[in-house]
């Protein structure tokens, strides 16, 4: 952060590289977690849709989306 408390480019670069390091270090675990979400959540989504539970369906779909994001990032 600079003297005015704003986020500088350097801060952003540091955050990005920290994120990259984290993803690299934990790649296997992240991929495993993404696979687990991608395999289980569609069944939860199906149950939610069958029961007309919109909130649960939204949660399940959000987690499927998260699993796809993790696949791209990991």
């Amino acid at each position: 952060m600079d003297m005015n408390g704003e986020i500088t480019k350097k801060d952003q670069d540091d955050t990005n590289s920290a994120l990259k390091r984290f993803l690299k270090r934990n790649r296997t675990a992240i991929q495993g977690f993404a696979l687990l979400l991608a395999l289980v959540m569609p069944f939860l989504l199906y149950v939610a849709l069958q029961n007309g539970d919109s909130l649960l369906a939204l949660l399940a779909f959000t987690l499927i989306t998260l699993s796809m994001l993790l696949i791209i990032m990991a």
Binding site: L35, P42, Y46, A57, I64, I72
Partner: protein, 528 residues
């Protein structure tokens, strides 16, 4: 949804994204597939009128289709790593090396004959997953290995996997198998010659191809004829298996005769000629080494051909019922049951039983050390996780595309753009497109067979010929499907080079589709 150039291009866009990311940016299949999934959903909602219900149910359908494939991938890798841990893979490769020292012929034995036989028994990426590491073990580089194994089994996909794809063609068109089998068998049998020639070329260049051409032609004629005979006799479930088995037997006979003629000595045990001293010292037996795969063959035949056994094991099924789904633009997907997975008689289950029996045999004979289970499981998960992610993402994308009418629009554009004269040329490309998107000959037939049937009827073309071109195109199209390439690459440590491998397989794959298109036109003329 109205067919316009813009709509057609937008329907094609998710595939373009996957292709560009894999080919130009060298992304792996899982990452490219996940991005394609996002693009397909966005376009499906924004442009093609897919609602939340449709998108949600599409995910559930996609996971059933994915599990159907993943069940086989995980268990095939399990069997492979158990055999590998026992030293069986090394022994098989050494034995094949001992049959012939000709590198091109070694490539043909593993990358054309063995891989076709495995396609007959397993399919779903198993042949490439098993044969590619074997090809690397005998000295081919990993890229060559994946390409040879992929190209080599393309002709056997439709009548392979116990003819699952052909059964689907029968089911969705409502036409008898006896009517559909001849044209499909001729097209695939002829393409088998090209597959063999391509494998010989990749293994030994032009020189290798010229030298082995008579052998390739002989084996292709044997395999194609046996497949034609079996499929037109109603035994299409064993079409590819029987053809490839006949090819392997003839090849071993010919090579053995040639060896005897050249060396003037009797080869009572030709398979043990060049087995390394270490293996001889350990006194490991080739039949024991092969037992894992022998058990697989026996169980596959028994479970598929003994109805009481099949009925008993097929009692517990995973299946979900889906309501009719429609887009706001009027594209309707009828109410249906999703993919049914028979937990205990599925090919994945057969591979799992084989893995257990193989492990017990190897452990009993001392080929596998007591603490090796952890090592085996670690290797299996290393190879399977990334390819599983790729398959889940790609199939998810494909199902969203088909349910929002994008896939149908793609096929309509292709068929309407060409008249009666050119449609036979286009038909195999539509089949190949379906297989490319979904990663499966079977799914391509689900998506496009009815469209092809209706178009052939409207244009006054031979329906069995056009459907033969559809399924033959899909059979060969499946070899360059990202989902399959991911599996092949994962088994030989090419996890980050899928894009490059795909680019090279595309060239060979498209050549085979062009060949099928030419043969379809020729057969159309002959049948007229």
């Amino acid at each position: 949804m109205q067919l316009t150039l813009l709509n057609w291009f937008l329907a094609f866009f998710p595939i373009v994204v996957v292709l560009v990311m894999m080919l130009a940016f060298h992304w792996g299949g899982s990452k490219a597939g996940a991005l394609g999934w996002f693009v397909a959903i966005l376009l499906g909602v924004i442009r093609f009128g897919a609602g939340p219900l449709l998108i949600g149910y599409a995910q559930a359908k996609a996971i059933l289709l994915s599990l159907d494939v993943l069940y086989i991938i995980w268990t095939a890798l399990l069997l492979f790593h158990i055999a590998n841990e026992a030293g069986a893979i090394k022994m098989i490769s050494d034995s094949l090396l001992s049959i012939t020292e000709d590198r091109t012929i070694q490539g043909l034995l593993l990358g054309w004959l063995l891989v076709s036989f495995l396609q007959g028994m397993g399919g779903f990426g198993v042949p490439v997953a098993v044969a590619a590491p074997l090809l690397v073990a005998v000295g081919f580089n990993p890229v060559q290995a994946v390409i040879m194994a992929s190209v080599g089994h393309g002709w056997a996909v439709n009548f392979g996997s116990m003819a699952a794809s052909f059964q689907t063609l029968i089911a969705v068109t409502g036409l008898p198998g006896e009517l559909l089998a001849p044209d499909a068998a001729i097209l695939l049998g002829l393409t088998g010659i090209l597959c063999g020639m391509m494998v010989a070329f990749i293994a030994g260049g032009w020189k290798g191809l010229r030298r082995t051409l008579p052998l390739v032609l002989l084996l292709a004629v044997v395999m194609g004829s046996v497949q034609y005979f079996l499929t037109t006799s109603g035994i299409w479930t064993l079409g590819a298996t029987g053809g490839a088995m006949a090819g392997l037997l003839v090849a071993i006979g010919v090579l053995r005769l040639r060896y005897m003629r050249n060396n003037h000595k009797d080869l009572t045990h030709p398979l043990l000629v060049d087995v390394p001293p270490a293996a001889v010292i350990e006194k490991r037996s080739l039949p024991i080494a092969l037992s894992g795969y022998a058990v697989l063959v026996v169980l596959a035949f028994a479970i598929n051909l003994v109805p009481p056994l099949k009925g008993f094991l097929g009692q517990i099924k995973l299946n979900l019922a889906f309501p009719q789904l429609s887009t706001s633009l009027g594209w309707v997907t009828p109410m249906e049951n999703g993919r049914t997975i028979s937990i205990f008689s599925h090919p994945g289950a057969i591979l799992f039983y084989s893995s257990l029996v193989a492990y017990a045999i190897y452990r009993w004979k001392g080929y596998i050390k007591p603490g090796s289970v952890k090592h085996i499981m670690s290797n299996v998960s290393k190879g399977a996780v990334k390819s599983s992610l790729g398959i889940v993402a790609m199939v998810g994308m494909a199902v969203v595309m088909s349910h929002s009418g994008m896939t149908n629009l793609l096929a309509q554009g292709l068929s309407q753009g060409f008249g009666k004269e050119f449609y036979p040329v286009v038909a195999p490309f539509i089949g190949a497109l379906g297989a490319f998107i979904t990663g499966s000959n079977n799914n391509s037939n689900v998506l496009f067979a009815i469209l092809q049937q209706n178009t052939a009827q409207m244009l006054g073309l031979s329906i069995p010929l056009i459907l033969g071109a559809q399924t033959a195109g899909a059979s060969l199209g499946s070899i360059f499907a990202p989902a399959k390439i991911i599996v092949g690459c994962s088994t030989v440590g090419l996890g980050s080079k899928e894009g490059m491998v795909m680019g090279r397989i595309l060239v060979y794959g498209l050549l085979t589709i062009v060949f099928i298109a030419g043969m379809t036109v020729l057969m159309g003329f002959l049948q007229a």
